[in-house]
């Protein structure tokens, strides 16, 4: 008799645990407006990206098309996977002295692992991390970018 009672209580206990589980899922089934899905391309406007989000390396330019990059190459050294190539040129200043300046700051987005080491190492704060994360392209070669805009020059007063 004892074993029969044990058998029945075992069944009832088992069913009870199943019912508690079903209660959890039912709670969510009957509150469908609490869904966690975000309809991505539709919600672009309301999408919040953290300001520190590391989407790509960018070089901010001011309204006069000026940046802060001196072409020192520290970012290139700090990059673990060779995503940055610095091509410098030498400018001849008014007083006749030669000065190194950036010609092309080449950035291979396709190789970048977004580790932030280049931005951290930059002595002048010329490069920062941008929040854009939609990098899908049809042609891989377009992932190689030149960060300094054509015709841009270095901001006044920025030194190595």
């Amino acid at each position: 008799m004892k074993s029969i009672i044990a058998y029945i209580t075992e069944i009832l206990k088992g069913i009870w645990t199943l019912l508690t589980g079903m209660k959890v899922t039912a709670k969510y089934f009957f509150t469908p407006w609490k869904h966690v899905t975000q309809q991505y391309p539709e919600n672009r406007k309301t999408l919040k990206i953290a300001e520190r989000f590391r989407g790509e390396v960018i070089m901010p330019h001011n309204e006069n098309n000026e940046h802060k990059c001196t072409g020192c190459g520290i970012c290139e050294i700090n990059c673990p996977n060779g995503s940055i190539e610095i091509i410098t040129k030498s400018l001849i200043l008014e007083d006749g002295k030669k000065k190194r300046a950036i010609d092309q700051h080449i950035y291979h987005l396709g190789m970048c692992t977004f580790c932030n080491l280049c931005v951290k190492a930059c002595p002048t704060g010329a490069i920062v991390m941008g929040q854009n994360f939609e990098h899908a392209v049809w042609d891989r070669s377009t992932l190689t970018k030149v960060l300094n805009q054509p015709g841009s020059k270095i901001m006044e007063g920025v030194k190595d």
Binding site: T17, T25, A50, R52, P80, T113
Partner: protein, 377 residues
């Protein structure tokens, strides 16, 4: 009666052919590109041979040509669920070698971050565990709650998974102004969600039947096979480095080392569930007491370690992670070896899974919480 006994004896002697099946490299429950060569008789597992190397990325070789801060970002990509702890291990190793004392603030933040990523990792483990057992709904509940932690990471570290937040000398950034508020909000919310996990899965009679008494690992075997982390602690192997060899701010917090002496699949499950509570308690103790100060010490532009061999152990979500750096005084390490927890844990699987069914093998693997890049490196 005697006839019956004879029949029973003969059925024992009936042997069907053993056969081999490949679980993986593409298999839903191997969590990546792990291949298990399983020798089966009917449904019974007789032998499991793990084959790894499908995503061997040569991180140890790569690290030989990188500087120390750069190595840190590679460790993100090994055990991507414990990315922060891996970063921390490298940072601590370099700091110990240079004998740099980091500010208290850094230690506190590192500890909080470690516990957050442990929570995130255990959440993912929980949902995948449910999925491996066939309860697909757990997958979404776990990921839903993990998303909150990833949002906190995104706000403070700038990345959701490969955070690269701890660097030699301190942290990449200071914490975000909203960090404390968000973490507290998350803890408050998750404290209501965790009992729900228990109601949905832990108590479920099907789940307990499938896990209780399945896949035993004794304490001696856990030590012998070097099985650490929650998996080892479920067997009674007291291996919590946070307790035994405290680093960062773990010596300033009160927490229990979760131990179980049962050693079955359910014990491994329960240890992880209890660890989530402990992690939350650690975060709660620290979050309001983060001291003011710098978030990093000024390091030289080029970090050079003194000549010698350095080893640092940290407790990741999966177990003991070790960084072994051999330095010859240059800016690149001479040799780096990562002792990854998954590697040692995985190879105990043959010992555990022998004699159990395929379904149990899947459950056992699930409680091992394997991350394959961690094993392959």
């Amino acid at each position: 009666m005697d006839e019956l006994r004879e029949i029973m004896i003969t059925t024992d002697e009936i042997k069907t052919d053993e056969y081999l099946i490949n679980m993986g490299p593409q298999h839903p429950s191997t969590h990546g590109v792990l291949r298990l060569l399983v020798q089966l008789e009917g449904e019974i597992v007789h032998n499991v041979q793990p084959h790894v190397g499908y995503i061997h990325s040569g991180i140890e070789k790569m690290a030989e040509s990188l500087s120390y801060p750069q190595i840190g970002h590679l460790t993100d990509r090994m055990d991507y669920l414990s990315a922060h702890q891996n970063n921390e291990a490298v940072a601590l190793c370099v700091e110990n070698a240079l004998q740099v004392e980091v500010p208290e603030r850094v230690k506190y933040i590192r500890t909080i971050m470690s516990e957050l990523s442990r929570l995130a990792s255990h959440q993912l483990w929980w949902c995948v565990m449910g999925m491996d057992m066939g309860a697909l709904t757990t997958f979404f509940y776990g990921l839903r709650d993990r998303e909150d932690i990833l949002d906190i990471f995104e706000e403070t570290c700038g990345a959701r998974l490969t955070v690269n937040y701890s660097i030699p000398g301190g942290l990449m950034f200071d914490i975000h102004p909203n960090f404390q508020r968000d973490v507290k909000a998350f803890i408050k919310k998750f404290k209501t969600k965790l009992p729900e996990y228990d109601r949905l899965l832990s108590g479920n009679v099907i789940f307990t039947e499938r896990t209780k008494g399945v896949g035993f690992l004794s304490k001696e075997d856990a030590i012998a096979y070097g099985v650490t982390g929650p998996t080892g602690r479920a067997s009674g192997f007291s291996c919590d480095l946070r307790k035994h060899r405290p680093y960062s701010a773990y010596d300033k917090v009160n927490f229990k080392e979760i131990l179980s002496d049962v050693g079955d699949t359910y014990a491994r499950y329960q240890v992880r569930m209890a660890e989530m509570w402990e992690s939350m308690s650690i975060i709660e103790q620290l979050i309001d007491n983060i001291p003011e100060g710098d978030y990093a010490v000024k390091m030289k532009g080029v970090v050079k370690l003194p000549e010698g061999e350095f080893y640092q152990r940290v407790e990741t979500a999966r177990g003991e992670f070790g960084v072994f750096i051999v330095s010859d005084g240059k800016k690149n390490p001479y040799r780096v070896k990562f002792r990854s927890p998954g590697f040692s844990n995985l190879f105990a699987i043959n010992h555990i899974a022998k004699g159990w069914k395929i379904a149990d093998l899947v459950a056992i693997m699930s409680t091992f919480d394997l991350v394959i890049p961690d094993i392959d490196r």
